[in-house]
């Protein structure tokens, strides 16, 4: 049996990366001759969540409930997942390669004394059990053997497309209340600030996205880019460097740990095109890269490119648009 840890949004929905992980699990299950897939969720799932998970081919939804699960603790989640794994005799435990997924599976790996493979993109075969995962930020791939049981791995975001199964699973709900030792609750979230409203909707649906990366230079370096956004009636999407430096809010991030976009045109300015960023924009119909480095991956992968300093190129484009409009 395969156990997949499914993360649930505050609105009660299975997050996309978890649905991707189940989609990935189905290929593994099929290769193993139709091994059943069970999901673990934290908290009581509502009917629509169960229906969605069943449509993805999930046989059982194990719901971890009880006060130990009121606030996040990686150790407590790991105890719950291990309880499900052990009682069901699962040989594979999977999660999505999100912070939660990697954290919980790392606890399982430490406890069981077995390897854990983070950010897997494909599996090579079942005997020996080999997976391929992203390393060096995705610039290289590592083939790894998971010959000990349980085999533990997380699936890198957006390496497969989440899609429902041809044959739905039963989606039977099993409530689980495993004993959680106090030690698991020492490191748990004590407060969560108001979630930022999800403002990524317009970014995901925009026909044109203007992208900005480290090349923007500073929080003040966005004026011309925002003018271009305005002139094209576009949305702004940024690289992780930009959000981690605090230049722009997280909901604007494109990539593996941000939004996945498929606009008619993506205009990444000063973005190198690291694989985690590429994962979020590769399905754009056209890409116009603006970069000082003609060898930047974003430039070589783009459909169109301008080589140059975005602080010179973007104002010139804005001026040209204004000129043509008269």
């Amino acid at each position: 049996m395969i156990v997949v840890l499914v993360e649930v949004s505050p609105a009660g929905e299975a997050v996309e990366t978890s649905r991707e992980a189940i989609t990935f699990a189905r290929d593994l299950a099929a290769a193993g001759g139709g091994i059943p897939i069970d999901a673990v969720v934290v908290g009581a799932p509502d009917d629509s969540l169960v229906t969605v998970l069943a449509s993805y081919g999930v046989r059982r939804v194990h719901a971890l409930t009880g006060p130990a699960y009121d606030a996040f603790s990686g150790a407590a989640w790991a105890t719950g997942v291990e309880h499900v794994r052990a009682s069901a005799g699962a040989v594979v435990v999977m999660a999505s390669g999100t912070p939660r997924g990697n954290e919980v599976l790392a606890h399982l790996g430490a406890r069981a004394g077995v390897p854990m493979a983070a950010n897997v993109v494909s599996f090579g075969g079942l005997s020996p059990f080999t997976v391929t995962r992203q390393v060096v930020g995705g610039a290289a791939l590592e083939e790894m053997q998971l010959s000990q049981r349980p085999a533990l791995f997380t699936v890198a975001g957006h390496t497969v497309e989440a899609r429902p199964a041809d044959a739905p699973g039963a989606g039977e709900v099993v409530v689980e209340t495993p004993d959680v030792p106090d030690a698991d609750l020492v490191a748990r979230v004590v407060s969560t600030d108001e979630p930022e409203p999800d403002l990524s909707g317009t970014l995901k649906s925009a026909r044109v996205v203007v992208g900005a990366g480290r090349g923007a230079g500073s929080a003040e370096g966005f004026d011309d880019l925002l003018e271009l956004v305005d002139l094209l009636d576009a949305s702004l999407g940024v690289s992780r460097v930009v959000t981690s430096l605090g230049w722009r809010p997280h909901h604007e991030q494109v990539g593996q740990t941000g939004s996945r976009i498929s606009p008619d045109l993506y205009i990444p300015c000063g973005i190198s095109g690291a694989i985690q960023h590429w994962a979020g924009c590769s399905t754009a119909k056209a890409i116009l890269a603006i970069n000082t480095d003609p060898d930047a991956p974003m430039v070589t992968k783009a459909t169109h490119a301008v080589i140059g300093d975005l602080h010179e190129v973007v104002p010139a484009i804005n001026a040209e648009i204004r000129r043509r409009r008269g």
Binding site: G113, A118, G137, V186, V189, S191, D193, D309, I321
Partner: protein, 256 residues
């Protein structure tokens, strides 16, 4: 308060990545080496916590002789002691690294300089294993907070916070504890010239590993297939603007 901060020498992967001939590692001879971004932030946090609490931050690395450069960099920005486990880092898996770090923590405690707090990067820029901190905490029997970007200590408690899936999350954990750090919460400081001079003189504790490594469960590294480039270069600099706007018109994306 004497926090321990763990750093790793990694190949600078901002340009093209080249693998070693045996496919077991990344060849850094041309690209050069650096410290992971997450760990630079962990060093900054360790130095601030030590200053705040009165004490010194110790930096540790596992690596070959050249990894001393990463230790000197951390010493140059305020760490006051350094430990070097001399080992081929490529031969180690995450469980090996955790075991060696735990041995350092235990030996330092036995020597009278205990570390109540260990800071690590959330994941290394090269191996991206996402588990050394958690495995270390497991070895030590300490609690672990993962993936946070701000960390402070007062009255024997670590307060750490970072962004979670549902908002900004805060943890409060009694010492001793392990914390893994994600970049973004602090700006690592640059070394000053006196800082660099001072760092050169700090004696470095050199150690051998305490156990045979189990190794990473690696078969080999491979490079993803290069995608053939079919990019149309529209021009260079500001002069490309008319060609760009022509493209916008062709694609029909120019709002009217």
């Amino acid at each position: 308060m004497n926090p321990l901060v763990c750093v790793k020498r990694v190949v600078d992967s901002s340009s093209e990545v080249v693998l070693t001939e045996d496919g077991q590692g990344v060849d850094g001879r041309f690209a050069g080496f650096t410290t992971s971004a997450h760990e630079e932030c962990a060093v900054e946090l360790a130095v601030r916590i030590a200053a705040d609490q009165g004490g010194g931050a110790t930096v540790v690395t596992l690596g070959d002789a050249d990894a001393v450069e990463q230790l000197r960099s951390a010493l140059a920005v305020g760490c006051t002691a350094a430990t070097h486990v001399l080992v081929d880092a490529q031969s180690l898996g995450p469980a090996d690294v955790a075991r060696e770090l735990a041995a350092v923590v235990r030996d330092h405690e036995a020597a009278g300089t205990p570390h109540q707090l260990v800071l690590l990067g959330n994941d290394a820029a090269d191996s991206g294993d996402h588990q050394v901190g958690i495995r270390l905490a497991h070895e030590l029997g300490w609690p672990v907070v993962n993936g946070v970007s701000t960390v402070s200590v007062s009255d024997g408690t670590v307060t750490a916070s970072g962004s979670g899936p549902d908002g900004h999350e805060t943890y409060r954990v009694p010492l001793p504890a392990v914390v893994t750090v994600l970049e973004g919460g602090v700006e690592p400081r640059y070394p000053t010239v006196p800082g660099r001079m001072k760092a050169k003189k700090v004696p470095i504790e050199e150690r051998q590993p305490v156990a045979e490594p189990v190794g990473p469960a690696r078969v080999r590294l491979v490079l993803p297939p290069p995608s053939p480039s079919s990019v149309e270069v529209l021009g260079e600099g500001a002069a490309a603007a008319p060609a760009v706007v022509d493209l916008f018109e062709r694609l029909g994306v120019l709002a009217r």
